[in-house]
Structures are given as structure tokens and as C-alpha cells.
């Protein structure tokens, strides 16, 4: 996977990174990689991080189910409550933010998000998974890896690596929520369609 540096010449310009077909191909390849990295497909548990991570998780599950003829458990995780940058962390209610919990003991858990960037969401997600049980392994799958991590966390399965500046925003748009499959980069100030 080649890492591309992207520079926007003008503020507000939108740069399309992945078109519909590219998104499809990337997901297809990621599904294969997930299967390759698991001991057995029956071992897999997918957990989507709200909200686009959940759409991705569903698509990945469908792909894997087509080839393996297995029905995969799919968990839904909302990470906002676990984010460490939430103010007044002390008073945050101790509620599980799993909307759809799944059994994870001795499983290979794939945490799925649309974009991995600072690594904070994934760290928080790992903590939430730990509350459910003790998986054999936890892997991270993301459609886009923006690099620039603030924590020592890696993405194991990546659709596309890109390097962006702090002032840029990567918008992953998926049909389920945005009516279109596309990944683009916009200037942070002028927020993208998402």
C-alpha cells in the first residue's frame, strides 16, 4: 500500500480520493485480509464503531459471509462516552456504550472504523471490548488510515493510507448514511458533505 502525500492548493477545494468503485474494491480486499488474519472465519467477531464503522462492518460481514457461508456476530459500539477527551470524565456515567454487545471470549475481534487518525477512538474501543470479555486477539480495520497517531496504536487492515495535514478533513461517505460511496478531502473550515 503506497502512502500518498496530498496537498490542497486552495482552501475549500474538494479532492476526491476514492470513488464508488474504489470503495467497493477496498472493502473487498479488506474482507479478504480479515479472513486471512483470522485463525478460522468461525472465530471472527466484527465490531463496528458508530456510525460509519457500523455500515462498513455490515458490508465486510456480508462479503465474508458470502465466501465462508457463515453468519458472523456483529457488535455495535458507540465510543463517544469512552473518549478520554470528554469533559468531566469523572462524572461520565458508567454505562456500557455497546448498543449491540457480542460474546468476545477467545474470539478474534475486528474493530472497524471508517477513519483511523489519532488512535484515541480505538483505545477507548479496546477498553469497551475488555468489559465484554477476553478476546484471543483484537485487530483494527479502517477504510482510511490518516497516520499522525497520538497513541501507539496500529491499524492492521487498511483500505487506503493517506497523509494529511491537521487542517484537512477526510470525509468518508457511504450510501447507507450519505447516499453515495465516496472518500474525499476538504479543508477543515469548510466542512464536507458529512
Amino acid at each position: 500500500m503506497n502512502r500518498e502525500g496530498l496537498f490542497l492548493s486552495m482552501a475549500g477545494e474538494k479532492l476526491v480520493l476514492l470513488e464508488r468503485a474504489d470503495v467497493g474494491k477496498a472493502i473487498h480486499r479488506m474482507a479478504h485480509e480479515i479472513v486471512e488474519k483470522s485463525a478460522a472465519p468461525s472465530d471472527l467477531v466484527l465490531i463496528g464503531i458508530r456510525s460509519r464503522g457500523v455500515h462498513l462492518a455490515r458490508r465486510l460481514a456480508r462479503k465474508i459471509e458470502e465466501s465462508s457461508k457463515l453468519s458472523l456476530p456483529l457488535g455495535v459500539l458507540d465510543v463517544t462516552l469512552y473518549r478520554d477527551d470528554r469533559r468531566q470524565e469523572q462524572s461520565a456515567p458508567a454505562v456500557s456504550s455497546f448498543e449491540a454487545p457480542v460474546a468476545v471470549d477467545d474470539k478474534t475481534v475486528i474493530l472497524i472504523d471508517d477513519v483511523i487518525f489519532r488512535g484515541r477512538t480505538i483505545r477507548a474501543a479496546m477498553e469497551a471490548v475488555e468489559r465484554l470479555g477476553r478476546p484471543k486477539r483484537i485487530l483494527v480495520a479502517a477504510l482510511i488510515d490518516r497516520g499522525a497517531r497520538e497513541l501507539p496504536i496500529r491499524a492492521d487492515i487498511v483500505g487506503k493510507n493517506i497523509e494529511t495535514g491537521d487542517g484537512q478533513r477526510v470525509n468518508v461517505m457511504l450510501e447507507e448514511s450519505d447516499g453515495i460511496d465516496q472518500v474525499n478531502i476538504t479543508d477543515w473550515q469548510r466542512r464536507g458533505a458529512s
Binding site: 478520554d84 501507539p152 496500529r154 491499524a155
Partner: protein, 649 residues
């Protein structure tokens, strides 16, 4: 003196005795047996009915009540441990009634209290008095409990009342059908316990019968093995499924026990519509005409108000029984104040770590993790080898987990657990020589050596290590945004020594020493502290907005780093955390990755890589070695006796 922490603390006969006392509650009210006695209610979590019914019960018995309206705002806020609170308050009162948000907290308080303690709910663990009320209600409405079929519905995962109730129903020989909301099924350990301790069998039931309450939800049918001859089905084939279905459709449902839909656990309406509800459809169904509906209250909308007006809706009665039952329980405990607690006959053995640190409960809400100071490191050994593993249970929260590493205190050797060791381990347990570890790392930190290892090969010598650390230090400075905000944090113990060396390198380059601390994963005190020689007056390390460099010797599965990150983020919010390790040996189980690694080496899972530093554990020089660990069972057909193991050392 007796405590009631779990419903298991009372025998069936004792429960019957309490029920007889409750039947005669009016007499108790006249006799005022608690006259001159004081009950203290300590509620760390809000509650209306449990607390009010306890207070009412005590006053009706002629006693009086002291309480603190909000424990969180009391001395707890000043940092008093629950153990101290229990000691102090037990000198003010004759009985304590406690509710706490940590699993196992009431057990911990009972260990420090001089008077009986009653659990009014501890985290998601147990709520025995609610269970007593539920059983009493069923007995009043339906007669004997044996043979009744009770459908428990809704949130079966988080509800503490449900777990207690299911165990109690099993003890009295009732059948249980579970009807869980999606994702809120009865936890596996509850089912396992029903199978093992109560000899229950279970099978999934997809039954149209329950469609009046819920659509398309699979129910689980739990029944005592004997009366119905149901085998334990691990794999349900169609024939068996059909049999169960026909059996289930012939069931007479005596009661529906609904649980509260806990809105806070179901965000954004994700599970709306899938939560079982009881309303007009249920009431019209002929087969439910003798089925009573119970609910611990408060309810949300899972019970329609129509049920209130129906003769089957008995939940207000159920709430009213709370007072006589609690009166009876208090009287029961007062009568037994002089009695020495009969040691409950347990089929399990107790384990207390002979080392300063030992295994930790895996339940993150357990009191042993939340406030280790108030607890002792005690576990029960549930099984050695019977089901292929060594299983420990936490005495506080009942959580069970598998053990992977064991050792012998005398020989200071550790072993990876294997069933061939079962016999030996039983012996060590008897002689007090058994040490149990959470990880290999923990065993090594305590000075244990592997049972047997292959020949050692050096990977790095003194000069290599020095060079690697210099390089890492340079990179750290190069990547760092603001060197003044650096904090070097070593993972105890070898990581701490490496952190010290890195800090010294940075000092030579910058002329100023970065702040230096260590993080202790298995300790019982502060997890993060400054490393000596620190100024004793220095404020505790504050990680907020700092650039933290986490230092460890070897990264392997990555779980250590993940745990360290959890501790760091619990303490404060750093601007960033980067990871420096001397050796990266692969085999990651969690998605963490070092930013700086002195050396990457391919290794097999049987290998062990150790960083030995001068001055640590009497080492005389710095070096990194690799060797393979040989477990006893790999050697010529498993020595099963302790002597053989000793001989093999």
C-alpha cells in the same frame, strides 16, 4: 453473627423460616423484638423502595434507623475507604444495610464490620433481599415453589435481581424460561453455574407460545434434569428441537417476571421494539389466564397500565411484601447474633497468593480492583483440570477466569498450566506452595524461573543495549514537540530501569532531566508514581497535556501496553503517548505498536526473551537473551507427581 451478602448465604430451610416469620409480621410488629436496636443504611447508589422498606421494617420491629442521605457526598468523597467506613459505622449501629455500585463491595465491608451486614445490592452482582421478596410473592400467590415455571424477561444480562432470582428458583426446583431482549441474554457463567451446581439442563426454545409477549425472540428453557429427563443439549438437532417445542407448548406458565428496561443502557433507541412487553395481547391469551406478572419496579413502558387493573398484575403486592420479608430477615439475623457463622460447606478450595502480588479479578467493576486496600487477595478454586483448565473465582464478585501460569513457592519455578499438572497442583495447594500468576511477566517479576528452559542465546550485549538506548533517546527528542513537556514513564520493573537510562541520555543531550515516573500494573497502591530519587515534596506526576514516553523492555502480545494505556488515561489526559521498547518480538494480540524499538526479532511462541540489566535481580551485566521454555508435559510423558517436577528442575 451472620451476614446476608448473597442468597447463597441462606439455606432453603432458613429461607422457609424467614417466610414463616414474614407470615406472622403482625405478631412481630406487636412484639417489637428490635426495640433499642439501631440499623444504619449506607446507600452509595440511589434507591427508593429498598431503602424505605428496610427503614420501615426496622421501625415496625421497634428499632430505629440512622442513615446518610448520600454516601458519595460524605466521607467517601474525602477518600475514606469502604473498609474504614464499615469499621466506624458498625460501632454506631447493630446492623448495616449497604448498597454499593461496585461488585463485591458489600462483602468487603462485611469483612471489616463488627455487626451483621445485609447486601441491598452490590453493582451487578447480587440483591438477595429483593430475591427473598420475589420468592415470597411467588409462594404467596402460587403455593410451593417446586415445579413452578417462571418466565424471566427482558434485561437478563445486567440485572442483579435476575441472577439471584434464577439461582434461588433453581434451588427450590422451579423451571425457568428466559426471554432476553436482544443482546441482554443471561450470561454464560450463570448458565454454567446452573448446570454445575444445581444440575440443570437447558435448551433453546423457539416457541409461538410467547408471541403474545414478544415476537421472534428465542427463549431458553432451563429445567432441573431429574423431573423432566431433559438431557444437556450442546447441539440441538431438529428432532430434539421439535420435542422441546412440543414440550414447551405444553408448559403451564405460572409467572412472568419482567425486568426494567434500562434506558441508560440502550442508547438511541437501538433495541426499541425488541424488548419484551406485556400488555393487552398477553391478557387476552387464554393460556396465560393463571399467569401472574411480577416486576421489581420501577417500570418504564414494558408493562402497560392495563395490567395494573388485572388480577394477574401483582407487582404492587410484590413491593408491599418487601416490608414483612425484611422484618423477618432482620429478626432472623438478630436471633443469630451469638451464633458463630456455620462455615458453609463449600466444594471449592480457597486460594490466597503466597506472594506479594498474585492474580487479579478480571471484572473491571470488582471491588478488588476499585479499592484493593479494602480487600484481601482471595479466590476460590473452582476446578482443577475437570473441564480442561484451572479456574479461579473471585470471592467478592463471583467472576470466574482461567489461569495460565502457576508456580511453586519453594522451588521458584513457574509452569504454563496444563492438565497433566492437575494432581501436582492439588498437592501444592494443600501444602501452601502454590503460586498463581496472571502472566509470565508477573512470574518473572517475582523472581520465578521457568520450569525448564532450553539453552540460552544472547541477542544483545552491553554495547548493543547502550547503542540502542542512545538511538531511541535521540529519536524521542527529535519527534518531541516540546521537550519540557516530556514525561518518561517506565513499566515496572525492567521498563523503569530502561526509563531511567533514557532519561539520563536525554539529560546529557539537553542539560535538563525530563520528568521520570513508573507505572505498576499489578500493584495495590498508586499505579503511577515518580521514580526515585524524586524530591519527596514533589507533587504527584500529572500527565495532563504531557508528551508521555512509555518504556518497556519487551513487547509481545501488547496486553501490558494496553493495560498501561488504560491506567494512563484513567489518571489524566496526555497530549500523546509514544511507546519505546528495547525488543519487539511480534505475536501481537492487541493493536498496539511501538514507536521506537531497539531491535526486532522473530521469535516462536515458546521462546522467552529477557532483558537483564546490571543491578536488577543481582545481574552483573547488561544483556538480552532468548531461550525456549519447556513445559513439563513436553518432556517424556508428563511427570504427574510433584517429586518428579522437583527432580526435573
Amino acid at each position: 453473627m451472620r451476614n446476608v451478602i448473597s442468597i447463597a448465604d441462606l439455606t432453603n430451610e432458613e429461607i422457609e423460616e424467614i417466610f414463616s416469620l414474614a407470615d406472622a409480621a403482625d405478631k412481630l410488629r406487636n412484639d417489637r423484638p428490635a426495640s433499642g436496636q439501631i440499623m444504619a443504611t449506607l446507600f452509595y447508589e440511589p434507591s427508593t423502595r429498598t431503602r424505605l422498606s428496610f427503614e420501615s421494617a426496622m421501625q415496625r420491629l421497634g428499632g430505629s434507623v440512622i442513615s446518610c442521605s448520600d454516601m458519595r457526598a460524605s466521607s467517601t468523597a474525602k477518600g475514606e475507604t469502604i473498609a474504614d467506613t464499615a469499621k466506624v459505622v458498625s460501632s454506631y449501629a447493630d446492623v448495616l444495610v449497604v448498597r454499593h455500585h461496585w461488585d463485591g463491595a458489600v462483602q468487603a465491608m462485611a469483612e471489616h464490620s463488627g455487626v451483621p451486614v445485609i447486601n441491598a445490592g452490590d453493582g451487578s452482582h447480587e440483591h438477595p433481599t429483593q430475591t427473598l421478596c420475589d420468592l415470597y410473592t411467588l409462594r404467596q400467590e402460587k403455593g410451593a415453589l417446586k415445579g413452578l415455571t417462571v418466565v424471566v424477561c427482558g434485561d437478563l444480562k445486567n440485572g442483579r435481581t435476575i441472577h439471584s432470582l434464577v439461582y434461588a428458583l433453581a434451588r427450590f426446583g422451579a423451571n425457568v424460561v428466559t426471554l432476553a431482549a436482544n443482546g441482554m441474554e443471561l450470561p454464560q457463567y450463570v448458565i454454567e453455574r446452573l448446570e454445575r451446581e444445581y444440575d440443570y439442563a437447558f435448551a433453546p426454545v423457539t416457541s409461538d407460545d410467547l408471541s403474545a409477549a414478544v415476537t421472534a425472540t428465542d427463549a431458553l428453557y432451563l429445567a432441573p434434569k431429574q423431573p423432566h429427563q431433559l438431557a444437556l443439549f450442546t447441539q440441538v438437532d431438529e428432532v430434539i428441537q421439535a420435542r422441546i417445542n412440543s414440550y414447551a407448548s405444553g408448559l403451564r406458565y405460572d409467572a412472568f417476571y419482567m425486568t426494567r428496561k434500562q434506558k441508560e443502557r440502550m442508547k438511541n433507541g437501538a433495541n426499541e421494539g425488541r424488548y419484551p412487553t406485556i400488555g393487552s395481547e398477553f391478557l387476552q391469551e387464554k393460556r396465560f389466564q393463571n399467569t401472574v406478572v411480577m416486576h421489581p419496579l420501577p417500570r418504564v413502558d414494558e408493562l402497560s397500565p392495563e395490567v395494573d387493573r388485572d388480577y394477574r398484575g401483582i407487582y404492587f403486592k410484590q413491593a408491599a411484601y418487601g416490608v414483612p420479608v425484611r422484618m423477618a430477615l432482620l429478626k432472623f439475623l438478630f436471633d443469630r447474633r451469638q451464633e458463630k457463622r456455620p462455615e458453609a460447606k463449600k466444594s471449592t478450595a480457597a486460594y490466597e497468593s503466597p506472594e506479594a502480588v498474585g492474580p487479579q479479578c478480571r471484572n473491571s467493576n470488582c471491588v478488588t480492583l476499585k479499592e484493593p486496600l479494602s480487600t484481601c487477595k482471595r479466590f476460590e478454586i473452582y476446578s482443577i483440570g475437570q473441564i480442561g483448565s484451572l479456574i479461579l473465582g473471585c470471592v467478592y464478585c463471583d467472576h470466574r477466569f482461567q489461569v495460565r501460569f502457576v508456580g511453586n513457592v519453594k522451588t521458584k519455578r513457574f509452569y504454563s498450566y496444563d492438565n497433566t499438572l492437575a494432581e501436582t497442583i492439588r498437592e501444592w495447594l494443600k501444602t501452601g506452595e502454590l503460586a498463581i500468576f496472571d502472566s509470565l511477566k508477573q512470574a518473572e517479576e517475582l523472581g520465578y524461573e521457568p520450569y525448564k528452559s532450553g539453552s540460552q542465546r544472547a541477542l544483545m550485549d552491553e554495547a548493543d543495549i547502550k547503542r540502542a538506548l542512545t538511538e531511541i533517546s535521540q529519536q524521542i527528542l527529535h519527534d518531541c514537540r516540546d521537550p519540557d513537556r516530556l514525561v518518561i514513564l517506565g513499566v515496572r520493573t525492567v521498563g523503569s530501569h530502561l526509563a531511567q537510562r533514557i532519561a539520563a541520555e536525554i539529560e546529557t543531550k539537553r542539560g535538563r532531566k525530563p520528568e521520570l515516573g513508573e507505572i505498576e500494573l499489578y500493584g495495590s497502591g498508586d499505579a503511577i508514581r515518580r521514580l526515585p530519587p524524586a524530591d519527596p515534596d514533589a507533587a504527584p506526576l500529572n500527565l495532563k497535556d504531557r508528551e508521555v514516553i512509555l518504556v518497556d523492555d519487551v513487547i509481545y502480545t501488547g496486553r501490558t501496553v494496553k493495560n498501561a494505556l488504560s491506567i494512563i488515561f484513567r489518571t489524566g489526559r496526555p497530549q500523546s503517548v509514544r511507546l519505546a521498547v528495547l525488543i519487539d518480538r511480534g505475536h501481537r494480540e492487541v493493536p498496539v505498536k511501538p514507536n521506537y524499538a531497539g531491535k526486532n526479532i522473530p521469535s516462536s511462541e515458546k521462546d522467552r526473551v529477557r532483558v537483564k540489566l546490571r543491578g536488577v535481580d543481582k545481574e552483573e551485566s547488561d544483556q538480552v537473551v532468548i531461550y525456549s521454555i519447556i513445559t513439563p508435559n513436553e518432556k517424556a510423558k508428563a511427570p504427574a507427581r510433584a517429586n518428579d517436577l522437583e527432580a526435573g528442575k
